[in-house]
């Protein structure tokens, strides 16, 4: 049994999910080779416990992201029974391209992996779970935070390979991200305020948390009707938008039936309200009985801490 792990990087260094990939590979046993595209993070990768070898793949082609050039460069170095990567957008592309070049099947976004291989993945946006059997060799991408990370203390050999590959995709210019706020109808995370926020200017505290999470800010009808500054486009509920984000954070929203109609299908709901009897707690997965004034600064601090680690 041998596994090749394609390392994940972000902002020029190794992404912590790489340890989770190694952890998943270790659980299956055998040798583990980590490939670092562009050589990014190879020193850190060598220190992950269980890694047998690190291949630092270097070349000009890694200065621009061109999925085909990258997979063409990496493919010859990928060997073994199993190819693992993260299920980030970029890694999925590279993995499926490598799999196609090598003629092996690919299964994406796996949350559990056992010998054989038996892989579990959510399908239909998590409305069902699929278990598939895939023979080796194959390529599998793993969902972040679903596998125990391998520890540190390793000391693997680092082999540097220089590659050269033509780039067919040319980056002309970086575009400024649209300054507009995310709309509630397309956000994965929404933080909404109700009349309990006390006044429209206090929504700035919601925006602060939203910025940390990349979330959209929504509002209850009570807030929209009470304050002109809160536009109807932010309204979640019966006459507003019906939303189904992964996480809905309701702050100072009591949970009138009309509001619940617009957000109760969210995957997870966190409610923050000072009234322990508020109906919103009836639909919340996590409830915190506290005023927003107390809770939001602490929440923001904790999120910053967690996301930076």
């Amino acid at each position: 049994m041998s596994t090749t792990v394609i390392a994940e990087s972000s902002n020029g260094s190794l992404h912590p999910i790489t340890s989770q990939l190694v952890g998943a590979a270790s659980a299956l046993g055998g040798s583990i080779t980590v490939i670092c595209p562009g050589g990014i993070g190879s020193t850190d990768a060598a220190q992950i416990s269980g890694v047998s070898k690190v291949i630092s793949v270097e070349g000009d082609c890694f200065h621009t992201y061109d999925c085909m050039a990258w997979s063409e460069s990496l493919s010859p170095l990928v060997e073994g029974d199993l190819i693992l990567s993260s299920s980030s957008a970029m890694s999925r592309e590279i993995l499926s391209s490598i799999a196609a070049k090598k003629g092996v099947p690919v299964v994406q976004d796996v949350t559990n992996l056992a010998e054989g291989f038996s892989a579990t993945r959510p399908i239909y946006s998590g409305k069902a779970i699929e278990e598939v059997r895939v023979p080796s060799p194959c390529a599998i991408s793993l969902r972040p935070n679903s596998f125990e990370p391998a520890g540190g203390g390793g000391d693997a050999e680092i082999v540097t390979v220089n590659v050269s590959q033509d780039i067919t995709v040319a980056v002309k210019q970086a575009l400024a991200k649209a300054g507009e706020r995310l709309d509630v109808s397309e956000a994965d995370i929404i933080i909404s305020g109700g009349r309990g926020m006390g006044g429209p200017s206090n929504f700035s505290h919601l925006y602060e948390v939203a910025d940390v999470l990349g979330a959209a800010v929504g509002a209850s009808r009570a807030a929209v009707d009470t304050w002109d500054e809160i536009p109807h486009s932010m309204q979640v509920g019966q006459t507003g938008k019906t939303v189904t984000p992964n996480l809905y954070i309701a702050v100072g929203i009591s949970g009138a039936i009309q509001h619940l109609a617009g957000m109760r299908s969210s995957k997870y709901i966190l409610a923050i309200n000072k009234d322990p009897e508020a109906p919103i707690f009836g639909v919340a997965d996590y409830g915190i009985v506290a005023t927003w004034e107390e809770a939001l600064p602490v929440l923001k601090g904790q999120l910053l801490e967690m996301l930076s680690s």
């Binding site: 592309e93 278990e131 040319a170 002309k172 322990p276 409830g287 915190i288």
Partner: protein, 252 residues
């Protein structure tokens, strides 16, 4: 010249999914639609055609019911329709990519567009896989394309943020949701679509062996029930809740 757009028919994103005897019960799904990201691919394919880049060839791979998405594509402007008739749910990624690549060759299109992932499996393997099989370039997570002097420029969400890239043909583009407003069909389009012939091809026609899928579905199951809600009093609980959001709910 020409744009092939790969469309996958999926249960409408609002459809209820139920599991019977270890399999998702497809017969209980009342509404099937073109996968949402594929709709952006279709819209951009039609825009490229309007800029003079040949015909739009809509291609789908799936059982008989999937021909509906070809008719829907024709109603908004697809010129040619190819249906690779197969029980796609039992095929592995190599087989599906081989079928689609063969159909693209059949269409002789040098630009291929599809969604960045399909709403049923959310895999995102098809675009880059087809590009590899055909030896085309590939640009992913695109929100907009335009063409000038034979060079296509695309806006994509790259590793370092939103950027404009240029790429020559042949190329595969996979689409994210963009600002482009999807065109609505109209009665005239629907009536013309009905008359448009669908080129039905089997795996034998395309010379692809679909007999042995490497990936076999062992079982489907409903997601585990969420535990009952937990309520905490006071802000001391915030670190614990944040921790649960990450490690139990996996949402941040």
């Amino acid at each position: 010249m020409g744009v092939a757009v790969l469309l996958k028919q999926v249960p409408d994103t609002t459809a209820k999914i139920s599991v019977t005897d270890g399999r998702v019960d497809e017969s209980s799904i009342t509404k099937w639609s073109i996968s949402p990201y594929d709709e952006y691919a279709l819209e951009n394919a039609i825009r490229l055609k309007e800029l003079g880049y040949g015909d739009v060839v809509a291609i789908t791979c799936g059982p008989a019911r999937s021909s509906k998405c070809l008719v829907e594509a024709a109603a908004v402007g697809a010129d040619k329709l190819i249906h690779v008739v197969t029980d796609s749910s039992s095929l592995d990624s190599i087989q599906i990519q081989a079928l689609l690549s063969a159909a693209v060759k059949e269409s002789s299109c040098d630009v291929v567009m599809c969604g960045k992932q399909a709403a049923d499996t959310n895999s995102g393997s098809t675009g880059p896989g087809v590009a590899s099989a055909l030896g085309y370039s590939c640009v992913g997570a695109v929100t907009e394309v335009s063409i000038e002097g034979g060079v296509i420029s695309a806006t994509r969400l790259g590793p370092s943020g939103l950027e404009e890239v240029e790429v020559g043909v042949p190329c595969v583009f996979t689409f994210d949701k963009g600002d482009a407003e999807l065109r609505r069909p109209n009665v005239r389009g629907i009536m013309m679509a009905k008359k448009k012939p669908i080129d039905s091809l089997t795996s034998d026609d395309l010379g692809v062996d679909t007999s042995n899928s490497a990936v076999s579905v062992e079982s489907h199951s409903s997601p585990p029930e969420k535990p009952p809600g937990k309520k905490f009093v006071g802000i001391e609980s915030v670190p614990e809740v944040v921790n649960m959001l990450r490690n139990d709910a996996n949402v941040i």
